[in-house]
């Protein structure tokens, strides 16, 4: 190919426009775009199918997903917190992570007047800095063919007859530690009993898997029979023919809410509000429930009775729901990550 003057000029112009694209107020102002920091996999796909494509793109807003697991995205938000212009317009995180990044003043307070769906949100899940998107609870999953006496509590994992058959997902060190704390008489504001319990669990030859997917494979091959896990994840695994049932442990059902928020340095705030509103639409919420087994966070999303029975808690179980103690977690999570890595796993 010969490089003509015209080609060189057009190439130069393209390079220039690419370079200026990131400059404020030059070639492009905040245009029709929203950048969503999210998990990949099912969550990202469901966002695309039920929110991005049907609800947001028709309004002339281009949706860009920045896909990564929560930790690197949190780190990115913290690293960018001094920057005037951040990467994300929307950040999707669990309630605990959201609290942690909010404490580092990375998020803007939401203007409820700009959210048409704010009234529909279940009051207990409302926050000033984030919308709740979906939620579930921490339960005990067990293999009904192997664990013949139905367990009732997290403490049942410490039964010596299940030696070598309890599995944990490494990335859920926080909830695993909490399950151990609850089994040892502690709770959301007291992880201390987890130390003794985890060391005992170590003697019982517990298995630790690098990811939820690796744990799923081990449950499927019946290498492990018991694990603390999100009810919604258990629902998905049942759909995938993994032999598990769940029980809401008598020590308590720890709730998890997956939330979405707008960083302080978001570039497209108007579009971000449009996106949050779309996340709260009933049809988008029911789609997440059907596929992933997470419960809707708005009052007007209706689910089929069968599905409801699979993924929701009974009234009696609901009475055992406990919320995370964010403040405690912020102060102590690092300590328990250290314990998990150095004492339990090592």
């Amino acid at each position: 190919m010969t490089i003509t003057r015209r080609l060189a000029l057009s190439g130069g112009a393209a390079t220039l426009s690419a370079l200026t694209a990131g400059l404020p107020g030059l070639a492009r102002a905040a245009d029709g775009r929203v950048v969503v920091g999210t998990w990949g996999g099912d969550y990202g796909n469901l966002l695309r199918q039920n929110i991005d494509e049907p609800l947001v793109q028709p309004k002339g807003i281009e949706v860009l997903q920045d896909v990564a697991s929560a930790d690197p995205r949190k780190t990115k938000m913290l690293a960018e917190r001094q920057a005037r212009r951040g990467t994300y317009d929307i950040s999707c995180l669990s309630d605990t992570d959201m609290y942690l990044v909010q404490q580092q003043s990375t998020l803007q307070d939401l203007d409820k007047g700009r959210l048409s769906r704010s009234e529909a949100v279940i009051p207990a899940l409302k926050k000033s800095y984030a919308i709740p998107h979906i939620y579930s609870a921490l339960v005990l999953l067990y293999n009904p063919d192997k664990v013949t006496t139905k367990p009732t509590a997290f403490a049942d994992m410490w039964d010596p007859k299940y030696k070598g058959r309890v599995g944990f997902s490494d990335i859920l060190y926080n909830t695993n530690t909490l399950a151990a704390a609850m089994a040892g008489g502690g709770g959301v504001s007291d992880y201390k009993p987890a130390e003794k319990m985890l060391l005992e669990m170590r003697k019982l030859d517990a298995k630790v898997y690098p990811s939820n997917e690796a744990l799923a494979a081990a449950l499927k091959s019946e290498e492990v029979w018991l694990t603390p896990m999100w009810l919604a994840r258990g629902f998905m695994w049942k759909q995938a023919d993994i032999p598990v049932k769940h029980v809401v442990p008598k020590e308590g059902a720890y709730s998890i809410v997956f939330e979405a928020a707008i960083p302080k340095n978001a570039r497209n705030v108007d579009n971000a509000y449009t996106y949050l509103d779309a996340m709260l639409q009933p049809q988008a919420q029911t789609a997440f429930a059907r596929k992933m087994g997470y419960l809707p966070t708005v009052k007007d999303a209706k689910l089929d009775a069968d599905l409801m029975q699979e993924i929701s808690l009974t009234e009696e179980e609901e009475s055992r729901l406990v919320q995370p103690d964010y403040d405690y977690l912020q102060k102590h999570l690092n300590e328990y990550l250290d314990f998990w890595n150095k004492q339990f796993k090592a």
Binding site: P72, L78, P210, K345, A346
Partner: protein
């Protein structure tokens, strides 16, 4: 002439030296769970890393894996490198490409392949159990064995190509002269080829050792949650623990140990064969 290194030099200063200075500064700060980082000038993070038996053992594991992989690469790589260097046929370039082949596949993809091979229901265990050689799956994955196999498979081409470039420069006549004077092949190798190939051994070992010390994806994916090397430990502190100061100090300890061992190693190899 000095101007020739300017473009690359500027790039290194901007993209490596500056961030490293920043990281060095961060490593002296203090971690606070509520504020992330408090400005300080303290060696506390370094002391903690050195005094904590856990991090000492992570560092020792890293050194053992790196040293083991380097030796294994030398033993496995030397014959192949010799064969490649002495190859006259027109297939030589094809052979070189084949040796480079593992580098054409991304680290993560390659590890996924190893997982499919070494896992409890992976190909090897399925075959062993299918042939009734074992009753239960052998623990091949998520341990040091898997990590060493995975790393060696990545770094071996570097060793082979470095060695073969040097061996090619050793005149064949030198070996023939040794044979002529009655040296057996092994003696000729030990007394003639190996000493002449020492620059290649040193360069290849240094390159491979540095790559192994800093391995990240392979130990994470094949070592599993219970096997820790330094690079994943650094990542853990930054990303999972949000403890940037401690993560930065671990990074500098890794850098320092790698540098010292590399210098000592090449000095020792050099002295042993300088006659």
């Amino acid at each position: 002439m000095a101007a020739l290194i300017l473009p690359a030099g500027l790039l290194v200063v901007a993209l490596m030296v500056a961030p490293m200075l920043l990281l060095a500064r961060i490593s002296l700060n203090q971690f606070s769970p509520t504020e992330m980082m408090v400005e300080a000038m303290s060696a506390e993070n370094y002391l903690r890393a050195v005094q904590d038996p856990y991090y000492r053992s992570v560092l020792l594991t890293t050194m053992a894996v790196a040293l083991g992989c380097t030796l294994l690469c030398l033993v496995l790589g030397f014959p192949t490198a010799y064969w490649l260097a002495r190859m006259q046929s027109r297939w030589k370039s094809l052979a070189t490409i084949l040796i480079l082949f593992p580098l054409l596949v991304g680290n993560v993809v390659r590890s996924a392949g190893w997982i499919a091979l070494l896992g409890n229901d992976g190909a090897i265990n399925a075959a062993l159990q299918g042939l009734h050689l074992t009753d239960a799956p052998l623990p091949l994955l998520y341990n040091a064995f898997a990590v060493v196999v995975g790393i060696v498979a990545v770094v071996l081409p570097y060793m082979i190509l470095t060695l073969s470039a040097v061996i090619e420069g050793i005149p064949r006549q030198a070996e023939e002269a040794a044979a002529n004077l009655g040296a057996r092949p092994l003696t000729a190798f030990r007394r003639v080829v190996l000493p002449l190939a020492i620059p290649g051994v040193a360069a290849g070992s240094v390159l491979v050792f540095i790559l192994c010390m800093n391995a990240y994806a392979t130990p994470v994916l094949l070592g599993g949650p219970q096997f820790k090397m330094m690079a994943p430990a650094v990542y853990d502190q930054f990303v999972r623990g949000n403890n940037w100061p401690f993560g930065a100090s671990l990074a500098f300890i890794l850098l320092f140990v790698t540098m010292v061992l590399t210098l000592v190693g090449s000095a020792l190899i050099g002295r042993r064969y300088r006659r």
